[in-house]
Subunit: 395 residues, 2 copies
């Protein structure tokens, strides 16, 4: 714990309520300053899809290492095919059958495909003329030894994996996907955050993280504080027990385990979200109510996962520019997330007010719109951006 | 093997070359008619992200099952708060501390947050008035028992998983991701298709498939025919040994194992691709040369994976409308794939001609353009669609 963290005030909201909530942008700033990608590791190519290269990769040698056949067919001396055509077959004295990748036999400087030749008894005739080099892949045609193949920071595409494998790089240094530990409060109550594991794991996967473990969030403050400092995770998502009830032990447990740097975000839903660090690991506190957990993940925690994964920090949802079908009322001082559905005229209709709990309304929605803390809402027919619940941008 | 399949002619191209190649659209038609999603299975929610529901899901009961607190705070009789304000605290005779999800105590019809109350010694005073029902989540507010939650065919979003879990549906009937077996020809030669495992697995994953196993493609025709009919896969990708050389045993092996329905596609690269069935399982034959394998996957095999996954069959790449920076020459009768890079003016510059082997040029490209079999090419400045190598559309 640094001196600065120790000095941060911890305001216990249990049984009292929030005296203030921080703007969401404070949470973003914390994430942008404190969350970094895990240290580079050398991983086998099969585990590297979509990850970023930590270092530039250069060709280990000339590649291909020698002239070779680029076709299945006959290796020939191009000069021997001079004048050949389908009405003028030319016998080839030195035709050698080769397959793609075979070294070029001595005396040959071209490969003609089987389609350009015909066998007449034991003899091969060319029925098409070729130029020297035709059908041949030259030494170093792909890359000369030491030349750059892929730059540092490259997000590895499928074809890059094939390129690296072809070049003999079977494992490469990458920024690994961050290991995210999910802790879920149990209990038979409304929030039932223990039921949010599949949802949160799917969101973490979308944002480039790997869910290492989904565990139980202890109801006891001391036990929870100990759970936060267990090693093995790059990021912790803790869902449930963030509110103002007497059993809402997540914020004080995080304060004890390290630092509770923000608790209470001026947004609806999700206003009891928080964040801090335990044992150097960022911990994101999500409310247990399912819709509040979704909102706090999308607007806050997801940014931390994407930062740790080296992906763009902004919201990953595809956006649609549209107009409101109805007035959307919003609370001043609070960022409001409205679930909306696009009607047949392409206008956005609210499905549920920001405070309405549960995911049934999210399932009926096509996406969400955000009304900033400085706004009382927007009239009907106003232009607005919808963030899609079904389509995502990828970089 | 059906009578129709047995009757299909098998043209052996080894040592002879292709007498004709089929248009790519014939391959698409075969895939659209023959490849179906695997049978529905009931899977745990954690394995269902992105899959399609096989059946509609309805609420098993009222949900919530009873009126309950939607806030942490005090359950009250709303009438008792009449006239309360910060300058007029009103003592509450029957305030009961409740947490989100707690059942509403008898006689209470609202919940006020801790922020709207203050404790004065052992007494609780309201400092804000509330209406009946405020802070209360009504029985069946999310869904009444038997009402529809999610329709059949729904592609499950993260929030849907939370919705289903909250409603007690911990496993649901879905169309499972197709299991794809990848067979790779070995050998030290150019194609080195054995090195394409990571690339093909990443592509299959992108298209909604699950790679069950990556195995060796036997060089022996009989052994390969047996490998094709092993059970356990919904789709087989076989890379390498598809050409006209004497060791190109994949097409005859597939003909022996079931049916070789197409071999030779009029496209560059990837013209030795093919497809057929073995033991009822679709088998896609990809060339072993890495760039040809990539093209044949993107233009042909990927469609089969997406069909089997219940995803839209069209190319999944995000598209960009742009103009050519240079003339692109194309061969009549052959669909040509040109790797292109976008220059600083946003024009598309060719990186390599369609026949140029290797993935180094694909790694330098931003995407590809397609020039149809009926075209000799396009002049510079012509409008054209680029398919991105880095961004994908998702439905």
């Amino acid at each position: 714990m640094t001196a600065r963290e120790a000095a941060l005030p911890f305001h216990d909201v249990r049984g009292r309520g929030f005296s203030r909530r921080s703007p969401l942008t404070d949470g973003w700033e914390w994430i942008d300053n404190r969350v970094v990608a895990p240290a580079a590791r050398v991983l086998p190519l099969a585990d590297c899809a979509g990850l970023r290269l930590a270092d530039a990769i250069t060709a280990v040698g000339d590649w291909p290492p020698a002239d070779r056949a680029a076709l299945d067919g006959y290796a020939v001396a191009a000069a021997d095919t001079l004048g050949a055509g389908s009405y003028n077959p030319v016998p080839l004295t030195a035709a050698v059958a080769v397959s793609v990748g075979d070294a070029l036999p001595p005396g040959c400087d071209a490969v003609i495909p089987y389609e350009a030749a015909q066998a007449v008894g034991p003899f091969i005739e060319a029925i098409d003329a070729v130029a020297p080099g035709s059908g041949v892949e030259r030494r170093a045609a792909w890359a000369a030894g030491g030349s750059p193949l892929l730059p540092a920071g490259r997000r590895l595409r499928p074809a890059d994996l094939g390129l690296l494998a072809s070049g003999g790089h079977h494992s490469v240094p990458v920024l690994p996907a961050p290991r995210v530990r999910i802790l879920l409060a149990g209990g038979a109550k409304a929030g039932a955050p223990e039921q949010l594991g599949a949802m949160l794991a799917a969101l973490v996967g979308r944002d480039g993280g790997v869910v290492g473990a989904v565990g139980n969030l202890p109801a006891n403050l001391d036990a929870l504080a100990e759970a936060y400092v267990l090693p093995g995770a790059d990021l912790i998502l803790s869902a449930g027990r963030t509110g103002t009830g007497p059993d809402d032990v997540a914020p004080p447990a995080l304060a004890r385990a390290g630092s509770l740097d923000l608790h209470g975000i001026a947004m609806r839903p999700g206003g009891s979200a928080g964040l801090g660090r335990a044992g150097g690991t960022p911990v994101l506190l999500l409310p247990g109510e399912p819709m509040a957990a979704l909102a706090a993940y999308e607007l806050l925690a997801g940014r931390a996962v994407r930062r740790a994964a080296g992906l763009p920090a902004d919201l990953p949802h595809a956006t649609v520019q549209a107009v409101t079908a109805r007035k959307l009322v919003s609370e001043i001082g609070c960022l409001d997330l409205h679930r909306v559905r696009m009607d047949e005229e392409g206008r956005l209709e609210p499905v549920a007010s920001p405070g309405w709990p549960g995911l049934a309304a999210a399932a009926r929605a096509d996406g969400f719109v955000l009304i900033g803390a400085d706004s009382e809402g927007v009239p009907d027919g106003a232009p607005i951006t919808m963030y899609s619940f079904t389509k995502y941008r990828f970089a």
